[in-house]
């Protein structure tokens, strides 16, 4: 009768077997403990049954050794689960060095994916087989959550912040993509499909059909249009700090603290520039709130990322 009902989702990423192995391990342990208890409850209930209600039980009040035993053993077992689960977790949240970057924004009720090379797609995500992919995303309105069961990854999309998931697809095919954080009327319609393609097919897909400018190019365009370029001179002589090679580096702030230049800091600096000023520069930058949308911000970030460090030839990376 149960044929045809799937019990486990397909494993389509490098992370899926790790999560599944942990799942089987925890299932085995919990089933073991559950069966022990159920076994004893049934045996005792039947063996010591008294139909009359007249008898009394044996005067047993407790045993310190049993108590200690069944406190300590489950504790040790749960610590084993904890350790394993935490290792898996840090693998899930810590993306490797070289990833294919994809940006995404969620809004009610759709996901928009932006590839660096320019293509963007709605509620569909194309990724190549066998290459680590990192999706960086945010929300334009309320909370959402990007969930791809076949990859065993999920993270909430939070307005005003960037979240990310990463995975290496290991199996070509078509998979579900869900919004897992309740977001209103069509929450259950905020779904899509992930296509895992052979690398050459993926390249062909990327090449085909009106991709438009790459994100870096679009970012550069915005950088010009918004006038960023007039202050953020690459040689550091402008009214704003040079942005060349800053991504991923520590920056000294005016208030003496240090900040890591990452997606979130760049975003914040564009929208609320005077919050955390770089040391040595005045509070002269206006806010760009309302002048640039989430996609634009992501393009700018991608552009700033692509800027090589000063003194280096502008060879294309990635």
């Amino acid at each position: 009768m149960l044929e045809g009902i799937p019990l486990f989702p397909v494993q389509a990423s490098n992370l899926a077997p790790e999560v599944d192995n942990l799942y089987f391990f925890v299932t085995a342990i919990t089933a073991f403990f559950a069966l022990i208890v159920v076994f004893f409850v049934i045996v005792f209930a039947v063996k010591y049954r008294d139909h009359t209600g007249e008898k009394v039980g044996a005067p047993i009040t407790g045993s310190i050794w049993l108590e200690l035993g069944w406190s300590i053993v489950p504790f040790l077992v749960s610590m084993a689960i904890f350790a394993w689960a935490t290792i898996v977790f840090f693998h899930l949240v810590r993306a490797p060095d070289q990833t294919l970057e994809i940006y995404s924004t969620g809004k009610r009720w759709m996901w928009r994916f932006q590839h660096i090379d320019g293509q963007s797609e709605i509620n569909e995500l194309h990724v190549p087989l066998g290459r680590p992919v990192k999706v960086t995303f945010t929300s334009e309105d309320v909370l959402h959550s990007l969930f791809i069961p076949a990859f065993r990854v999920k993270a909430d999309a939070i307005p005003g912040r960037y979240s990310s998931i990463w995975f290496t697809p290991t199996r070509a095919g078509e998979y579900h993509l869900f919004c897992a954080e309740y977001c209103g009327t069509k929450h259950s319609g905020m779904i899509g499909r992930v296509f895992v393609m052979e690398p050459n097919e993926y390249q062909a897909w990327l090449g085909g059909g009106g991709g438009g400018l790459s994100m870096t190019a679009r970012g550069e365009q915005l950088f010009q249009q918004l006038g960023c370029v007039s202050c953020h001179l690459t040689d550091g002589s402008g009214r704003g700090p040079s942005l060349a090679g800053k991504y991923g580096q520590q920056e000294q702030l005016a208030d003496g603290e240090a900040v890591l230049v990452n997606d979130t800091y760049i975003r914040e600096s564009i929208l609320t520039p005077q919050m955390r000023l770089v040391a040595g520069y005045g509070p002269v930058m206006p806010t760009f709130q309302g002048q640039v949308n989430e996609q634009g911000l992501m393009s700018l970030i991608e552009y700033i990322k692509s800027l090589p460090s000063m003194g280096q030839p502008a060879t294309a990376t990635k």
Partner: protein
């Protein structure tokens, strides 16, 4: 807290103290129960303010500049004045309880009235502080106006300012009303050295409200001022 405050219902058929309710064995048991109840109530009050203070802490860590700008908007003189007033009212309240303990009934009424007067002073000053914020459009919401790059975060600061002080003022108003009842009861000579639990309990409540202000004053008015002095 009707059970804690009230004293006269349940005449019962006991030949005990008129304030003894029938489900208690002794007056002492009843007093202990009431006091314990009040303390437990204060615990919930601590947690009640705790939620707002949690938000305060998080955003203070995130937006120190806005906290500095925000606290400069508050009038330190009025804040300090109110602190003195409120601590003074705690003193008079403690003396009212002491008078009740020793059976000095007139003194009890006098100290209670003085406490109420000081509480009212606090609320009046608070009203003028709020009024100023209103005139400056510093009330968070659609009409909020604030110049400067930190404006959105200052709005968070002021939201918490109004949340915290508003909740505190609400407690003051409740406390004031309770004191009014207690004063009337004291005036009617309801209390004696054996039984003055309502005075004691409203005292505990009043001191608690004072303690909240002892924290709110530095947190909102003082600590982040000095940022601008470097």
């Amino acid at each position: 807290m009707p059970d804690i405050v009230a004293s006269h219902a349940d005449p019962g058929d006991h030949a005990h103290h008129p304030a003894l309710q029938h489900h208690f064995q002794t007056l002492e048991q009843q007093q202990e129960a009431s006091t314990l109840g009040m303390w437990i109530f204060l615990v919930t009050e601590v947690m009640f303010f705790g939620g707002l203070l949690m938000a305060y802490l998080v955003y203070r860590v995130w937006y120190p500049l806005a906290w500095s700008e925000g606290s400069l908007e508050l009038d330190i003189r009025l804040g300090a004045f109110n602190t003195v007033v409120l601590i003074g009212s705690s003193l008079t309240m403690a003396l009212a309880v002491r008078s009740a303990q020793t059976g000095a009934q007139k003194a009890t009424v006098r100290w209670l009235l003085l406490t109420m007067a000081l509480g009212l002073t606090f609320l009046v000053v608070k009203f003028f502080e709020y009024r100023e914020k209103y005139l400056l459009h510093h009330i968070p919401g659609p009409n909020f106006q604030f110049e400067g790059p930190e404006a959105p975060h200052v709005q968070i600061f002021l939201s918490l300012y109004f949340g915290l002080t508003g909740l505190h003022a609400l407690h003051m108003i409740v406390g004031f009303s309770i004191l009014a009842v207690i004063t009337w009861m004291a005036h009617r000579r309801r209390f004696s050295p054996e039984w003055h639990t309502p005075v004691e309990l409203s005292g505990l409540y009043w001191h608690f409200v004072d303690i909240v202000w002892i924290f709110l004053f530095p947190l909102l008015y003082l600590v982040d001022r000095a940022h601008h002095l470097s």
